[in-house]
Every structure is written in structure tokens, then in C-alpha cells.
Symmetry: C2
């Protein structure tokens, strides 16, 4: 599909490594005074007035993305989001990233230009300097490794391990959509393989597909919390699914948690798509992943500051560790939440 | 060959991603007070009293290394060296790294344990904290992406662009050996493919083979320069070959350079191996790469501080940009140095 979209094809080998890097990074301007030296030396130099948070993610073709339905520009954008989301989850402001790619020579230069256009767009919208990276060939496929640097005052850092008994559990936005978007795209890929002339109508699914192809990191949430004068006691980003992230917070904080099925924020498209696929929307919300929302805990006394905000949902509360991590269903049964997500068979049901 | 060395085989899928990360990183202790938070949150937190330098490198199986002759422990060690070398080239002290790997399930857990043992050894010897990373599966082979953070006072940073007319050009250690080590290993691989019973005697080549398999970053050079009270005007590490690195310095500094063939430091093994392979040792020294020595320039007035040091060789001097970049051969001819290295045919010879 890349070939169809890119009639112009320039062979990567014609540019050489340094020529390629120069070409792909020529539009990256420096926005931050903290970027003392960007691309072009043995290393970049960044100045930190506050603390530095650092996070890195590796995205592999065929494992994390499928170029049959993931346009390269979207892939570039998303690969930046994945990293920024981790920085926001520390309550920090991302300002610098490095971008490394390994790419087989089946990709023409024009394909990499698309990829970097997505990276550039993300950098522009999220106010990020691309300060370095590495470009190399691969034997097979495309791999992207991004490292993000965030800036934060020591007293503002939020770890996973600060949740305390009775804290409220809060989720930004809504969840489950990105996973369903993937299911829709996988289905359309199979249809396309059988009938390449098919023209899929994705409009009923535009929300869930966009959540999969063009996720946004929640840049606004640390700002909102600051405005509300709320410092979360713990925070994590929802990349692997709500249940997995909640268990991470509970394990790190040595606490348990109770969340309520009817409080989990779902978009109407998620509910309708789940009905169409005959899937349980709660299971999808708990285990879906890739939503890049923020899950955090706040003290009970912050309830009034949080409760009316349309971006935030209070989904439960922290309990002592020995009480475990549970979901209270709409039918008022208590189901244990496991690393694989909510056990919908209820085999681990307690009480 | 991995299978032969590792009779015990534990399938990676049995551990899961989080189990694998926990298992591989369990020996990584925190050595620096600047590491406020290491592995285990959305991001690591590092405190910088001085400036932060950041560099990243991607090593791909089949492109940068061949597991037929590169033991995984050496690979782990070398992948750290490659990054530290860039930090030293900024005159900075590396203190933190992140390590990401993508690995196919053809690798058993025991192979990754070997890889991480090499990373751990490098971290121990070079006083580095491994503060984060990402572990994922790949469709094919092994890929390692490391990012290193260095600490340096602003006034001590050495860039590529500060070389001035008449500065002396200085090289640490000796060069060309790592490339020859690779040639030896490639030759033995071919012999092994024809006759798997062959027992290669690598002892005459132990120096060049070790330079390829277990390079050391020049941690000592920034310390030595500090002791000598010499601040280089420019510096770069020799990863792609002397000629390529010299051209980088000249381009960034907008200067030319003259270096002398008889001043290029070569180990006796390099000379004897070149004779055996019927190769020109100067060509190898200029274009070989992977030596991870430091190439730098100092002011003329620092000559006396530098000249007697056994770790350092003065190989030439900086000239005005319009005079170009040249090698003066033993036969006193002047050959233009190009990006592909010294043009040994002398076609570009100037006066």
C-alpha cells in the first residue's frame, strides 16, 4: 500500500546515512531555550532548571503496528504520543525527544518523509524539540525508538507509589475505543485482502478508528490539575489497559482498590461497536489498552475540585492492600481484577 | 551457536513482558545520587546539577553485529560502550542509560541473560545506572537501542565546531584494529561454515579481535585532559573512521586540516595483519571505524602538555578552510581526504 500512495520513489541507499538524517531533520527547529545543542554533534545538550524525567519506547512493525492500515504519518505522530504520555504521567512537561529508526530498503525516501512529517506535526503541536537520534538499516521492516525528556519541579513529580487508603481513583477521558478501532481496522484489512476493490465505510466508527490511529497524549491534564490545585497521590498512563495500570498503582503503592463498572467512562461509539461485535464493553474498557488516558489517585478532600469536571471521572477508591483489587459490577457482584484484566467468568469472585 | 552454548532454554513467552523486565534488571543497583527514580515507573527521574548531554544508538542484528561470532555478553558490553563514547566526546561524564531491546522468540531467556550480563558489567565498570528501557518482541532478530545521559558543566562542554586555524589534531590510543578484527572474524566464520570441526587459532590476532568484540570507551581521556589542564577546542569519537570524523570536525568548525601518515598511531598487530591480508594499513586506519578513540583539537600553546603523553598522538594541524583536508603521505605527497576516506589512488592529489 505504501507503493500505491507514493508514486515517487527515491532509494534510501542513494542518500547515505548522513544525507538521510540531514534530509529528514531539516525542518526541525529549536523551540526551547533549554535545548542548548540539538542535532549535529556526538550528543545533544539540554539544560535542566528542574528535574529531568526520561522515558523510552520501542515500536516494531508487525508487533505494534501494521502498515496495511496505519499510514506512516499517523505512525510518526503516534510514536511521539506514546512517549509524551509517559512524561505527562509523571506530571512533567516534555520538551525534548530523540528519534531513532531502523528501516529496510523496501521503504523509499518518500515513505520516511511521511513518517517524519507525523513526528514533526506532533513536535509542533506538543511544543517538542527533536534533538537527536540514529538512523540505520534493518533486515526487515520498520522500527522506531523514541526517548522523551520531561522537565518538572521535584515537589511536583507524581509516582505510581503514593496512593493511600481512601484516595479517589480518577480517569481522564474515556477508554476502550483504541482497542475497538484496531478491531475495525483488522476486519477491514481482511475484507480488503479478499476484495481489493471494496471501499470500506468507516464513518460509523470514526471515533474509535481515530483513537487507534491518532491518539493524543493528555497534555491538558497536568495543566488542569495545577489549575484546580490538585496534586495526584499517584499517576500512570493507560497504555496496557485500565486493569493492568490499576494493578501497577496498587502494587507500587501497596494498596488495594475498588472500582465501579457503572463509573467507567465509555464513548457511545464504544458501546454500539461492542454490541455489533458481541463484546462486553467493560471487558474492553478494562483490557483494551492504547487509550493514553491518565489514571490517577487524589485525596478525598479534593473531591469537590474534581467531581464536576467533564474531562475527569471518579471510578472508585483505594482500599487497604489485604482487601485486593476489585470491580463492583452493575449487578452489584464483586469481581477480582487480574493482570489479564477483569475475570468476566467470575471464577475469582469473593464474598 | 547460541543453542550450543545454552543447553538450558526458557521460553521468553513464559515470563511475559513485565516478568522479563523484572528478571533481567534485578541486578541493576543505583549508584548515583542523581538517579532519583530508576526502573519501575512511567519514567525515570534524574537530577542535573550541571548540563545534560543525551545520545542514542541503535544496533541491529545482521547490520551492526553477527551473532555467529559476537557473543551476547560482548554485544551487551559493546552496545553500552558505543553510547558512552559519544558522551565522553562531549567531555561529559555518563551516569545513566536506558536500554531497550526488541527480540524474536528464537532467543531463549538464557541468551538475554548473557546480553544483560554484558550490559551489567559495562554499567559496573563505567559507573552507570541503568534507569529504564523497553522490552518487546521482534519478527526477526535482535535490536538494541540505548540512550545515555551525561553530566557536564556548561563551560567544560566540547563541541565539534570549535577547531581553529593552527590547532593541533590529537588522537587517543591507536586505530584500525577493530576493523581488522572484524575481517579476521568474518574469515573464521567462512572457515567454520565449510568445516565446523575447525578450531581457529586467533591468538596472533588477539588484540585486533578484542578491539572488535570488546571495545572500551575512553573514560580516561576527559579525566586526563582535566589533569593536564587542557580543554580541547573540538572533539568527536572515532566510530566511523578517522577520515569521516576529521571531516565532521572540519565541516562543523569551517576549517581545513593536514594530517601526516607517519603520525597515525597503529598497533604492531595492525601492521602485521594488514601485511597478511595485503591491505594498506593507512587506508584501514583512515576508514576502518569502530575504534571508539577520541579525536580532538587543542591550541598550539598546549603542545608541551600533550606531546609526551603515551595515550595521545599529535597527527596534524588545522589549516584554513580553503586549503581543504589532506593527508601528507610517507612519500611526501599530499592526498585529499574524502568522506569515503583517503583516496589512495591519488586522483585528487593537489599541491
Amino acid at each position: 500500500m505504501i507503493e500505491d500512495k507514493n508514486p515517487a520513489r527515491t532509494n534510501l541507499d542513494d542518500l547515505g546515512e548522513f544525507g538521510l538524517i540531514d534530509h529528514l531533520t531539516k525542518n526541525f527547529d529549536v523551540k526551547h531555550t533549554s535545548t542548548l545543542k540539538s542535532i549535529g554533534d556526538d550528543a545533544a545538550v539540554v539544560s535542566f532548571e528542574d528535574e529531568c524525567v526520561i522515558t523510552t519506547d520501542l515500536l516494531v512493525e508487525g508487533v505494534h503496528f501494521d502498515l496495511a492500515y496505519m499510514p506512516l504519518k499517523h505512525l510518526g505522530y503516534k510514536s511521539v504520543m506514546v512517549n509524551l504520555s509517559d512524561v505527562y504521567a509523571m506530571n512533567a512537561v516534555p520538551k525534548q525527544i530523540t528519534v531513532s529508526i531502523a528501516v529496510s530498503n523496501r521503504f523509499p525516501l518518500e515513505a520516511l518523509e511521511d513518517l517524519y512529517a507525523g513526528i514533526e506535526m506532533a513536535a509542533k503541536i506538543y511544543n517538542i524539540d527533536v534533538v537527536g537520534g540514529d538512523t540505520t538499516s534493518s533486515n526487515k521492516g520498520l522500527l522506531i525508538s523514541i526517548t522523551a525528556l520531561g522537565h518538572v519541579k521535584k515537589e511536583d513529580i507524581v509516582y505510581r507509589d503514593g496512593a493511600k487508603d481512601n484516595d479517589l481513583i480518577v480517569l481522564s477521558g474515556d477508554i476502550g475505543a483504541a482497542y475497538l478501532g484496531l478491531q475495525i481496522l483488522e476486519r477491514e484489512k481482511k475484507v480488503f485482502e479478499v476484495n481489493p476493490q471494496s471501499q470500506p465505510d468507516l464513518s460509523p466508527y470514526s471515533y474509535v478508528v481515530e483513537r487507534q490511529l491518532k491518539p493524543e497524549a493528555r497534555k491538558d491534564i497536568p495543566l488542569l490539575l495545577k489549575e484546580l490545585e490538585v496534586k495526584p497521590t499517584s499517576m500512570i498512563d493507560v497504555s496496557d489497559g485500565l486493569s493492568s495500570e490499576l494493578l501497577h498503582i496498587c502494587k507500587a503503592s501497596k494498596v488495594g482498590a475498588t472500582i465501579y463498572e457503572d463509573k467507567i467512562p465509555l464513548d457511545p461509539t464504544v458501546i454500539s461497536t461492542c454490541e455489533e461485535f458481541n463484546m462486553d464493553s467493560t471487558t474492553i474498557a478494562l483490557n483494551g489498552g492504547e487509550d493514553y488516558e491518565l489514571l490517577f489517585t487524589v485525596k478525598q478532600e479534593d473531591f469537590l475540585k474534581i467531581k464536576a469536571n467533564p474531562s475527569l471521572s471518579i471510578i472508585g477508591h483505594i482500599v487497604p492492600e489485604q482487601e485486593g483489587v476489585h470491580l463492583i459490577t452493575r449487578g452489584n457482584t464483586k469481581a477480582k481484577i487480574t493482570a489479564q484484566g477483569w475475570n468476566s467468568l467470575g471464577e475469582n469472585k469473593e464474598n
